[in-house]
Amino acid sequence: MLEITNLVKKYGKGKDEKTAVDNVSLSIPKGSFFGLLGPNGAGKSTTIHCITGIAQPTSGTITIDGTDVVKDYKEARTKVGLSPQEFNVDIFATPEQLMDYMGGYYGVPAKERQERIDEMIERFDLQDHRHMKFQKLSGGLKRRAMLGRALIHTPDLLILDEPTAGVDVEQRHDLWEYLKEMNERGKTIILTSHYLEEIQYLCKDIAIINHGRIVAQGTKESFMKDGKSVEDAYLAITREDNKKS
């Protein structure tokens, strides 16, 4: 589904040059529920930005179902839905408008789009807030509107960058069940989160990125051997890597 080969992303020039992603290679098969973990500034969001077209890779290749995200960017973008970490929206638009515009950008016809909007509004319990300006919504409601927007065009690959930050416990569990259900129906999902119990509960495969490099990768079970939690394994791996760096 997603193949990342030797991805490098550098920012700045000369003395100010900073390598955010350093020779990352990942292979995420179709139907995977993949957890991408790492501390703040490790390169998770930059990797996601390179996949979705928000950032330009410095070198390396990324393909989605064999489609190169740089050379055939238009085709590649039809396959991806993104719920980003930051609220990248028109704050004066309503959740319904955000989903409507995004569905339109992805070429979803009006009738189908309205059906999908109604489904998303109901799914994320936004009925009472569908016509409220985004800026007036609480943090949790904003996250739910972002998720509805990411899913409006039924993408094959769903990328969720910190999707439950600010969402209350009940809603978070509800969202987990929805994501599991979508994954069981064949959607490929990449999830980044600082809630490691969320990763442990949902993901089948995990990679840890630190200082722009993949420092560990494998099945969830391989991280949890000897009765450790994903969080224990994550802390041990990142601390060890930080000592080396």
């Binding site: 928000i54 973008r77 930051e86 990248n88 929206v89 028109d90 515009y101 339109g104 070429g107 016809p109």
Partner: protein, 253 residues
């Protein structure tokens, strides 16, 4: 082509126009009405006809052009800059648009706003008896092409600007002076010879003259040259903006 996507971009800009209707539609109409009243009716009644037409008819196309330039420039520049500022532009960047389609979406949205402004000012002009349209098709083409030029300039400024203040720099120091010096309120035959020659180097003179020729059938410039100049600017600016979007200048990290 992503037709539904493009329609959505245009629809969104039209909805944004109506969201701030006082600023986008009512203010330009009030300004135009004041220009028409003061220059056309009050001052115009003391002036003999220019180029064989009443002064109000001579001035009106220029006033209309002034409003179209402001509407298209501010629509495109504020729309893109606000999207950069809020990162809402990422919605467009991750969607299946080619770079040309993205530009077309922004420009078409600005042209739509400019045509709305033009229509309202034409209605206003009717009340002052200032409106004639000898060639409506040429009029729409001139209005659309001029709106396209200034919306693309608006996009370039929106990419370059790092603050709301910078967003107004081109308008204040280039567009407004060149517009007023482009013969919208006077015939260039009224100017000394040197000033006439300088005016012929001002592209805004050809914009105003094109709209004027389509409205009242009077032209002071070489209209063929003017048409080529306008087409050249549309193509040149489209190429430049396409290049800037392609390399992701200030929009992709």
């Amino acid at each position: 082509m992503n037709g539904i996507g493009l329609y959505t971009m245009i629809r969104r800009e039209v909805q944004r126009t109506f969201r701030v209707v006082v600023q986008t539609l009512i203010a330009p109409v009030i300004s135009a009405a004041l220009y028409i009243f003061i220059f056309g009716t009050v001052i115009g009644s003391k002036i003999d006809s220019i180029a064989g037409v009443p002064y109000i008819s001579f001035v009106f196309p220029g006033v209309l052009m002034l409003s179209i330039i402001n509407a298209s420039f501010s629509s495109a520049s504020s729309s893109l800059y606000f999207m950069r500022f809020t990162r809402g532009l990422e919605e467009i960047l991750i969607a299946p648009f080619s770079y040309l389609e993205m530009i077309f979406g922004f420009v078409a949205g600005s042209i739509a706003r400019s045509l709305m402004v033009a229509f309202l000012i034409l209605i206003t002009g009717l009340f002052f008896g200032a409106v004639t349209l000898v060639n409506p098709i040429a009029f729409i083409l001139y209005v659309s092409a001029i709106a396209a030029i200034f919306s693309m300039l608006g996009l370039i400024v929106a990419l370059w600007a790092e603050s709301f203040e910078q967003l107004t720099v081109l308008n204040t120091f280039v567009i407004t002076p060149l517009t007023y010096l482009g013969g919208i309120f006077y015939s260039i035959t009224m100017l000394p010879e040197v000033a006439q020659t300088i005016t012929l180097w001002n592209p805004f003179f050809y914009f105003a003259d094109g709209i004027r020729s389509s409205m009242i059938g009077v032209s002071e410039a070489d209209t063929t040259f003017g048409a080529f100049l306008i087409i050249g600017l549309v193509v040149g600016l489209a190429s430049l903006v396409n290049h800037l979007f392609k390399i992701g200048w200030k929009i992709r990290s």
